[in-house]
Structures are given as structure tokens and as C-alpha cells.
């Protein structure tokens, strides 16, 4: 045995050991997929081939009986046969370039060939022609075997060339081609074969394939995780930052296709147990609006199963109704993920590659699985948002109608009562005038309620009118409006303001109204001879107003609800008449100014309301 051959055998054995280690790594990650199983078998066949080659040479070297040498050769032949068959299968499965019944037929064929090879190894005579020189064990495979090996090797090379786009990793393609070329070399020249050139080449290529597998299935996912997570976060942000439903759908489809580097994507939404195509990316828009019953098409199936589903080759593997008219022609590899929110399937997202494109791998499926719930949340959000917008629109419309339809007759009635008051004061009896006054008071009350509702609406939806003004003025005006009312109840209404209060920037009109509402509220719920104190102070960059009374107080359970519209803490106090809007307006005004309102209250002791307003003015002003 030449030194070169010994080196070859040592290097090959090391290479194969490495390849086996990598194989174990890949299997640890995923041993179920068909390509990985074939890859494992291929490596095993390579080991058999190498084992046979090793055995025959060692047998010759130690001058073992000729039967042992023959066994080595048989083993090598078995290995080579298996390598040829498995390599072809591996390349086809890896690229998905097979038709519907291929796998079954090919599997049976491969098994038959290998079993036949085993059989003839057992029954046939010693294959060795001459063993005159240890370094030149030459033997041929016979025409039919050579033809079969050659055909398989050429077919493999053809697949590797024609389906080159579908290899995840170009190293895989190089490795597969390398083995095929090695086999051809083995067939071309017994001399080269005896020098182990072809075996070396095949082992090296196996190592290359192993490395490519490890790289594609383990290293890349690990190193890519950070960027994948970032990409995923970006997608999540993009999806959730939009509110209009059609925009959300379009973004989901676009981002999903981008994330998987796919050719197209589509979203079906479910309405009343029907799926309707709602958005597409890179697919004909004319299909939008098309419907699928639940269970129809891949999307319909996924909606029923509520599980992600992958079809490697739509034309070959999908036997149900097509998802779209042109799906059979246009779809290659497809992943469909249900968009589930709570117990409801909101829809289905499908991501599509064209027939000559790549195939989606497990990572793609996982990514899409992760995207599904986010997309469902985004869709739900935007649906709720649109519903809310619609409700808002209806509410605004109603308020506008109310304002116009109620205020016109109210104004007509009020102005006529005013005319009656003026023109009738010398004609009407005192009782009649009193009736007119009562009518006037009630109309005014109605007006206050309508205005209160409209004010709330204006504050909540509109832009306040900002100006700079002195806090003392604001409190002064509010208190002056109510001094008379307080005096009527012999309530002492006092203010306590430090001299150097800063100016405030805000909607003066509504802030005065807010303070007045709180003071009026205090008057209502403070017994005669009580005291109400309005004070203000600057605390850091806020001014805080306090409106304190020693009235009946507010029970703790009512405190939380006191700012709700039409809520009354003391419904039994019949004599207190108000619109039930006063405190909710206070809250709305405070909120609109970026401030806060709260209260301290003890039943029987009194209540203090606090309003904190930022001095810097309002956000965005």
C-alpha cells in the first residue's frame, strides 16, 4: 500500500468522523424531516463504501485470505450503490423537484436495487481479477451496474444544475455535485479508483454537505436570531402602529412576505363562516373579495384546523380546492397560518413562493407562526378602532343634530318668553308673570343641560382655545359669579391666593367654568353657615387649586364615580338641582389641559377638590 493511499485513508476516516459528528448535530436539531433522514442514510452509505475500501486494502496489506479481500470489495460495492441511489434521492427531495408519486416509486426502486446488490454480493463469485499488486486492486462493476451508477450520477448532476435556486445553501449544491462527479470518476477509470481519488472526492464532498447542513440548520438560525428578532419586532411595530383595517392587512401581508423573502402573501378574513380574500401582496388585486368556505382550499383548511400548515409544492401536494383561481399554476411552496384571537379565527395569512422559487423551511414556518397572533391582535385592534370611530361619528352626528334640532325650538321658546316678559309686564297678573318666570327658569335649565353636553363634547373632541392669563383672575371671576348664591345660603366663600402666582396658559373660559362648577357643587352640598375656601399654590411646575368645603362629604364608594356624567353622590337630596354634568366637565377640562383632578372627603366633615395644572402649558402647544 502506498504512503499516499495510507494518507488518503487516514484523512478520509477523519473526514467521515467529522461528518458523522455533524450529522448527529443536525439530527439533534431535526431528525424528522425527509431530507435530513436521507442525508443520514447517505452518510451511512458513504461510511459503508469507505469501510469496504479500507477493509480490502488492509486485507491485501496483511495478506489475508482472498475471501476477506472480496468481502471488502463487496462492502465497497454495496456502499457505492447505496451512495448513488441515495444521493439522487437526496438531491431530488432537497430541491422538492419531484412529482406526486415519485417518492413512493423511487423509494421502492432504491430498496430493490440495494437489496439486489446485497443478494448478488452473497451469491456471486469473488470479484477480484488480479491482486498482483497491492497498490493496484483493479476491478470493474460490470456494464449494467456502471450504466446505473452513471445514470444516477448524471441525473443528480442534472438536478443540481436545473434546481440550483432551490438549494438553501450553495455549499450543498457543490457537495452533491462533488459526490456525483466522484462516482463518475470511479466509473471512468479503475486506475484512479484504485488510487482512491474518487473515494477521497466523495468523502470530502460528504464533509462539505455535512458542514452545509450544520451551517444552514444550526449556525445560521443561531447567528441570525438577533437580526431575526429585530426583524420580527419591526414587523410587529409596523403592524400594530396602523389603525385603518385595510392598511393593517396590507402591512401584514407585505411584512410577512418580506420576512420570509417570499414572492407573495395574502390575507383572508373570516365573516360568518366564510373566508374572504381581504388583502394581497404581489398577487393580482382582482382576486380581493373572492370567497372560500371554511375547509375549502389550504386557507379554509387552516381556518378549520387552527394550525399552521405548509405545502411544499402546491401543484403537487395540494389536492383540495385551489385557494385562488390561478393557485395551481402560480403557487409553489406555501405556508398558511391561522390568525387566532381568543377563541376566534380572525382569518388566515398565506405566504407563497412561485413554483420555481425556494421552499420554506422550518424557521420560516416558525416565524410565521409567531407572527400570526400579533397579526390577529392588530386586526382586532383596527376593527375595534374602526367600530369606535363609527360610533364616534354617530355620536358626533347625533350631538350636532341635537344641538341644532333642540336649540332652535329652545331658542324660539326662550325668545318668545323674553318677549312675553317684556311686553306683558303691564298686562299680566302677578300669577301669570310668575308662571312666565317659571317657564323661563325651566327653559334656562334645559339650555344648561344641552350646553353642558355640547361643552363636554367640545372639550373632549376639540382643540381648546389657549391664552395666557392670571390665575387670580380666573379664580376671581369664578368666585364672583357665585358669591351671590353662597350669600343666599349664608355660606362664607373665601379665597386664599399667594401673591406671586405665575400666569397660566390654557382655555380661560373653560377653566373658569371648571372652578365655578366646583364652587357651585360645594355650595350645594354645604349646609348653611358653612365655609368654602378656594386656594392655589405653585408646586414645582404645576399650579394646584384647592376648593375645600365643610359640607356633607362624599362616601368612599361614590368618590370613584363622582366624575362620571349624570352621576349623583346624593340622589336623595332632592332639593339639589343640577345637570349631573358639572364634575364630569371639570374632569374633561382638566384632562384637556394635561392636568389632574382628585378629591379628599370625609362624610360629615367636608370635601376638598384639587386641580393640578401644568404651568408649561399643554402638550403640543
Amino acid at each position: 500500500m502506498s504512503a499516499l493511499n495510507i494518507i488518503s485513508l487516514v484523512v478520509d476516516s477523519i473526514s467521515l468522523t467529522l461528518a458523522v459528528l455533524m450529522l448527529l448535530l443536525v439530527f439533534w436539531q431535526d431528525s424528522h424531516s425527509l431530507p435530513n433522514a436521507l442525508y443520514g442514510l447517505l452518510t451511512l452509505a458513504m461510511i459503508i463504501w469507505f469501510g469496504g475500501a479500507l477493509l480490502e486494502r488492509v486485507a491485501v496489506y496483511i495478506e489475508a485470505p482472498i475471501g476477506l479481500i472480496g468481502s471488502g470489495i463487496r462492502l465497497a460495492e454495496l456502499g457505492l450503490t447505496s451512495v448513488c441511489v441515495l444521493l439522487y434521492l437526496f438531491s431530488v427531495v432537497l430541491t422538492g423537484a419531484y412529482s406526486r408519486y415519485f417518492l413512493r416509486v423511487a423509494g421502492v426502486g432504491a430498496a430493490a436495487i440495494i437489496v439486489y446488490q446485497l443478494f448478488i454480493s452473497y451469491v456471486a463469485s469473488n470479484p477480484i481479477d488480479s491482486t498482483t499488486d497491492v497498490n493496484a486492486i483493479t476491478y470493474s462493476y460490470g456494464l449494467s451496474w456502471s450504466l446505473l451508477f452513471g445514470l444516477l450520477a448524471v441525473a443528480t448532476l442534472f438536478v443540481a444544475w436545473q434546481q440550483r435556486r432551490k438549494f438553501h445553501d450553495s455549499l450543498l449544491r457543490v457537495g452533491v455535485s462533488g459526490i456525483a462527479i466522484g462516482i463518475l470518476i470511479e466509473l471512468i477509470s479503475p486506475q484512479l479508483s484504485s488510487r482512491l481519488i474518487s473515494l477521497d472526492m466523495c468523502v470530502a464532498s460528504t464533509l462539505l454537505i455535512s458542514y452545509a447542513q450544520v451551517r444552514a440548520q444550526i449556525i445560521q438560525p443561531l447567528t441570525g436570531r438577533a437580526s431575526q428578532l429585530k426583524g420580527f419586532r419591526d414587523v410587529g411595530l409596523a403592524i400594530t402602529s396602523r389603525l385603518q383595517l385595510d392598511e393593517v392587512l396590507k402591512t401584514i401581508a407585505t411584512q410577512a412576505a418580506d420576512m420570509l423573502h417570499a414572492d407573495g402573501a395574502a390575507i383572508y378574513l373570516s365573516h360568518d363562516s366564510v373566508l374572504e380574500l381581504a388583502a394581497v401582496y404581489n398577487m393580482p388585486e382582482r382576486f380581493i373579495g373572492q370567497r372560500l368556505a371554511l375547509g375549502e382550499g389550504l386557507a379554509g383548511q387552516v381556518a378549520v384546523d387552527r394550525r399552521v400548515s405548509q405545502v411544499e409544492d402546491y401543484q403537487r401536494d395540494w389536492h383540495g380546492l385551489p385557494d385562488m383561481q390561478y393557485a395551481r399554476q402560480a403557487f409553489g411552496s406555501v405556508v398558511a397560518v391561522p390568525l387566532v384571537f381568543g377563541n376566534d379565527v380572525m382569518g388566515v395569512l398565506i405566504v407563497v413562493e412561485n413554483p420555481s422559487g425556494k421552499r420554506f423551511d422550518r424557521d420560516d414556518v416558525r416565524l410565521l407562526e409567531m407572527l400570526g397572533p400579533q397579526a390577529a391582535v392588530a386586526i382586532t385592534n383596527s376593527r375595534l378602532f374602526e367600530k369606535q370611530q363609527e360610533l364616534d361619528r354617530l355620536k358626533n352626528q347625533m350631538i350636532r343634530m341635537t344641538s341644532h334640532d333642540l336649540k332652535n325650538p329652545l331658542f324660539a321658546a326662550m325668545s318668545h318668553v323674553e318677549l312675553l316678559q317684556e311686553e306683558g309686564k303691564d298686562i299680566l297678573t302677578p300669577e301669570m308673570l310668575a308662571d312666565v318666570d317659571t317657564t323661563w327658569t325651566q327653559l334656562q335649565r334645559m339650555n344648561r343641560i344641552i350646553s353642558g353636553i355640547l361643552d363636554m363634547e367640545r372639550i373632549q373632541s376639540g382643540t381648546p382655545t389657549y391664552e395666557e392669563f392670571a390665575i387670580e383672575d380666573m379664580i376671581g371671576i369664578a368666585v364672583a359669579e357665585l358669591r351671590h348664591q353662597a350669600a343666599a345660603h349664608t355660606i362664607l366663600l373665601e379665597t386664599e391666593l399667594p401673591v406671586n402666582l405665575p400666569a397660566l396658559f390654557g382655555d380661560r373660559h373653560y377653566l373658569i367654568q371648571a372652578v365655578a362648577n366646583l364652587v357651585e357643587n360645594a355650595i350645594k352640598y354645604t349646609p348653611d353657615h358653612g365655609t368654602i375656601r378656594v386656594s392655589a399654590e405653585q408646586i414645582e411646575d404645576h399650579v394646584v387649586l384647592h376648593i375645600a368645603d365643610n359640607g356633607v362629604g362624599i362616601p368612599p364608594d361614590a368618590q370613584a364615580r363622582i366624575f362620571e356624567r349624570f352621576y349623583r353622590a346624593h340622589p336623595h337630596m332632592e332639593q339639589v338641582n343640577g345637570t349631573g354634568l358639572g364634575l364630569s366637565l371639570v374632569k374633561a377640562v382638566t384632562d384637556a389641559h394635561g392636568g389632574r383632578v382628585w378629591l379628599d372627603s370625609q362624610v360629615g366633615q367636608g370635601t376638598t377638590f384639587h386641580i393640578a395644572l401644568p404651568l408649561s402649558g399643554i402638550k403640543g402647544v
Binding site: R400, L410, S415, E418, S461, G462, E467
Partner: protein
């Protein structure tokens, strides 16, 4: 004094008309925009009160049509005002005043009087006009030129310009403007100056978005900035 009241609610036309008639005005009533416009051309009223939402032609359109031919003071009277934008829209259509229903009849009458007062007597305290070669304000004849062109200002716009001019170099607060241009009844209508300043800028400024005459003092008010006249030839 003739006042035209345009409102589709008969009860409202009736009460407003009676109130003003008792205060000594000649009253003309119209039930919709088209009728109102026709009556405007027929009677040449001194003041128009306009409802906004009306059949046939709405108040904003009537207002714009009137503005195309006359400076007659126009008071919008609407139940529609919910937001400032609604009011601004009314003022932008050329109205001098925007009242929200319901309004007390006495206040309505007072506002009518104030509006008439404002539009009739523009008596500037100073008799000195302003001319820097680009902007030329002739107080005597109430003419304003921008470059070679004579421009048209409504009475309110003219008064606003004069108040700013009289106080040039000094900041005039929103409230001062309201008091001096509109009258102290208007002291709380603080969006008036903003809308009218914007209109005035479009008429007198070379570039309304980058004003050089009427400058905004953020949160305080406005200031008129004089510019040196071109050197005499």
C-alpha cells in the same frame, strides 16, 4: 336702519324681528338663503342676520355671495357652533360676528347695535397714515394699497389694521384688540383676532405665512412692525 333677518324657523324670525322692531329698526324677514339674497339686493339693508343651516342655500354661501358685492356687516346666528372650527368657518366666509343660539334677546340687540357702530364709524385717533413704498394706508380716504394695487378691506379688517398701526412697535394683546376693534362685549371671543389677523395677512403681507408687518407674539398678542420707506428719489 334696515336689518335683514334670514332664518328658516318662523318663530325665531318672528321674535328677533319683533325685538329689533321695538328698538326702532326697519326689519325684513326671509325664510331661506335665496329669498334672503334676493331681499338683500332689493332692500340694501345696513345689517344682515343669517342662520347657517337653511334649505335652498345655506348661510355661509349667502354670506360669501354678499361679500362679493358689499361690506354690509353680517352676523351669523347659528345653533351649530360646537367647536371653534365651526365659528372660524363662519368668520372666514366673511361674517363679522358669530352668535350661538340660544342668545338672550337683549344681548342679541346689543350686539346688533355694536356691530352697526363698529362698521359705521371708523375714526382713527391718528391722522397720519402709513407708507413704506410697499404698504400704503391712507386713513383719510380709507384706502389701502399693497404695491401699486388698491386692496379691499372690510370695515372690521380696516379697524383691526388701524389699531395695530396706532400701536406699532408695541404688542397689542388679544383682549386689547377685542376691546378696541369689536367692543368690550366681545372680550371673551378670543378666536376673533386670530381669524381676522389671518385674513388681514393674506391681504397685506407679501407672504402671509412669513409675515413682516403683523407679527405674532406667542401667547400674548400681535405687533405691527413698521418698515423704512424706500429712499426718496
Amino acid at each position: 336702519m334696515k336689518v335683514l333677518i334670514v332664518d328658516d324657523e318662523q318663530a325665531i324670525r318672528d321674535s328677533l324681528g319683533r325685538k329689533l322692531r321695538r328698538d326702532g329698526f326697519d326689519i325684513f324677514l326671509a325664510a331661506n338663503g335665496i329669498e334672503g339674497l334676493r331681499m338683500f339686493h332689493l332692500e340694501h339693508p345696513d345689517l344682515v342676520v343669517l342662520d347657517i343651516i337653511m334649505p335652498e342655500m345655506d348661510g355661509l354661501t349667502v354670506c360669501q355671495r354678499i361679500r362679493e358685492v358689499a361690506d354690509t356687516p353680517i352676523m351669523m346666528l347659528s345653533a351649530q357652533a360646537i367647536r371653534e372650527e365651526d365659528i372660524v368657518q363662519g368668520l372666514n366666509a366673511g361674517a363679522d360676528e358669530y352668535l350661538v343660539k340660544p342668545v338672550r334677546l337683549n344681548e342679541f340687540a346689543a350686539r346688533v347695535q355694536a356691530l352697526l357702530r363698529r362698521s359705521q364709524t371708523v375714526t382713527p385717533d391718528t391722522t397720519v397714515g402709513y407708507n413704506d413704498g410697499y404698504l400704503n394706508v391712507d386713513l383719510q380716504r380709507r384706502h389701502v394699497y399693497v404695491g401699486p394695487n388698491k386692496i379691499h378691506l372690510t370695515p372690521t379688517e380696516f379697524k383691526l389694521l388701524i389699531v395695530l398701526l396706532e400701536n406699532s412697535g408695541r404688542v397689542v394683546t388679544h383682549r386689547e384688540l377685542l376691546e378696541q376693534v369689536w367692543g368690550h362685549e366681545y372680550i371673551d371671543d378670543i378666536y376673533y383676532p386670530r381669524v381676522y389677523i389671518s385674513q388681514l395677512r393674506h391681504k397685506v403681507e407679501p407672504d402671509a405665512d412669513n409675515p413682516i408687518y403683523i407679527l405674532t407674539e406667542h401667547r400674548i398678542g400681535y405687533r405691527f412692525e413698521k418698515h423704512a420707506p424706500p429712499p426718496a428719489e
